[in-house]
């Protein structure tokens, strides 16, 4: 089975304690694909401007990511300039956002892609996410991610969309904001009531909480000692999660736990370098090696 992923493709300028990096390939769909490709064929859906460097395009293609449905339009590629203050990797400070070609973007996909059974709607305007869903024939699994911006300003669209998806991933701040519940178990239950059967609450360095009607579980994060740049960690997590779930036959507890462990492992690589510097060289063998370490770290 394969996986189609909609989201942003961006040019990032990022400042952290470890330095300043310009013109990095970023965006929710790019980071998502960079880990999901380790498990399955990924079809990316997005838009870039005419300024989008050919090296980035080639790089994504070399990683086996299908760019058939990445449109290039006149204008500038979506760009984000952000900073993380010393020691506070949970809160990105946005210095500038240039929407560029993202304005008035309407997703388009190739006809044959409508049959792809697994869909991930990475962070982008919920109306755009909904538009992609209209194209999909009979998805087996639809996953969704969002962000504080949409929860605040497009809550209606987001909630309409949540009724149509199977799996929802949110970080702790988003979960609290969306539901008004400060307790994360209550927040997970409240999100479940909004539609999705499978709820994943990412807590950054504190790990992850999974909630469904039948079972819930928690895992700590892989212990990363030198965080360099957390940008895209949530997307990388979602990529590992959806990538693995695309490969398995049933969404039972065992497979969901394994998927969360893979997601956690992939995300741990992401934060160790700027942009995709640590996820781009990854192979499934390398992921498996660290995953075994993680399992040792968290097993009873």
């Amino acid at each position: 089975m394969s996986l189609i992923a909609l989201g942003t493709v961006a040019i990032d300028h990022i400042k952290t304690e470890s330095g300043l990096k310009k013109d990095l390939l970023g965006g929710s769909a790019s980071h998502f694909s960079m880990s999901a490709r380790l498990f399955t064929k990924v079809h990316l859906v997005g838009i870039v401007g005419q300024d989008f460097p050919k090296t980035h395009t080639k790089f994504l293609q070399q990683k086996g990511i299908d760019l058939t449905s990445v449109i290039t339009r006149e204008g500038k590629t979506f760009s984000w300039r952000g900073e993380y203050k010393k020691g506070d990797y949970n809160n990105a400070v946005t210095l500038a956002t240039e929407l560029g070609v993202l304005l008035n973007y309407y997703p388009q996909i190739a006809h044959h892609q409508r049959d792809i059974p697994n869909v991930f709607l990475a962070n982008i305007d919920p109306d755009v996410q909904l538009n992609l869903l209209h194209f999909m024939k009979k998805p087996r699994l639809i996953g969704l991610d969002s962000m504080n911006l949409w929860i605040e300003h497009k809550s209606r669209s987001l909630k309409r969309l949540m009724k149509k998806v199977d799996l929802f991933v949110a970080n702790d701040g988003e979960a609290r904001m969306l539901t008004g519940e400060s307790n994360l178990i209550k927040a997970a239950k409240a999100m479940r009531k909004l539609g999705p059967k499978l709820i994943v609450v990412k807590k950054g360095e504190h790990g992850v909480l999974f909630y469904s009607d039948k079972f819930m579980f928690s895992f700590p994060a892989y212990p990363v000692e030198h965080v360099v740049d957390p940008t895209g960690a949530g997307d990388t997590f979602a990529g590992g999660l959806m990538g693995y779930l695309t490969k398995v036959k049933t969404l039972n507890q065992k497979n969901l736990k394994q998927a969360v462990i893979y997601a956690t492992t992939c995300a741990s690589f992401n934060v160790e370098g700027f942009g995709m510097s640590k996820t781009a060289p990854l192979t499934l063998v390398k992921v498996n090696t660290r995953m075994k370490e993680l399992i040792k770290h968290i097993s009873l």
Copy 2:
């Protein structure tokens, strides 16, 4: 083997979202003992004023806690008035602290107690903690807890003391404050360098990180949906930890993991009620039942 525990015995007045409760039995040594007693005989070392209610004394005795070395002195019992703002159970707001008899307290213990092999120095002035250690003959295991107040104002005493203990428990904020490291693994390593071989970083609702030279591990917390009052959760955690470690022969990885799981389970009861309302009725059978649930929740 038995366990001796020094710390505060207090009268707490606590306000949370769930209400206001006055004249609760509190203090680091009381909360510690209330969970440690489930595993071993606990000898409490502390001081109260003449105003200390006899009902509290009887209550502690009925729980099997030895009060031989709890001194009663003229004056008022140490008292704490605090509040937790809605949804923020990680930060207690201190409204008033009355030291009372804690001022100029010098711990005294019965002669025969000097041979007790396991010692826990629950949160109290580090100079007082050091004074107790002078009495102890050849402890097998010494555990230590502290707080932001002492890290800020008695850092020298605390660091001198840390050289003499085997196990140090700190919450995430204290760990960061003490070491200046925002990354908790770095902070744990830095604390290890200050002396204690076994480092436990409590992260509240996010669980716990254990660090030693030979191994480290993390566990999430038990998922508590209705937090009522977190006061004493850290002490209750330490009580479960030290209580279990007092019972086992060796401090190997298996036993330390089991101790942390017990500690986590005990702490989860504490936060579900005001004061000791949920830990006082506990039996080891009840703890084991919830511990099995926790294990199911966190196992791979």
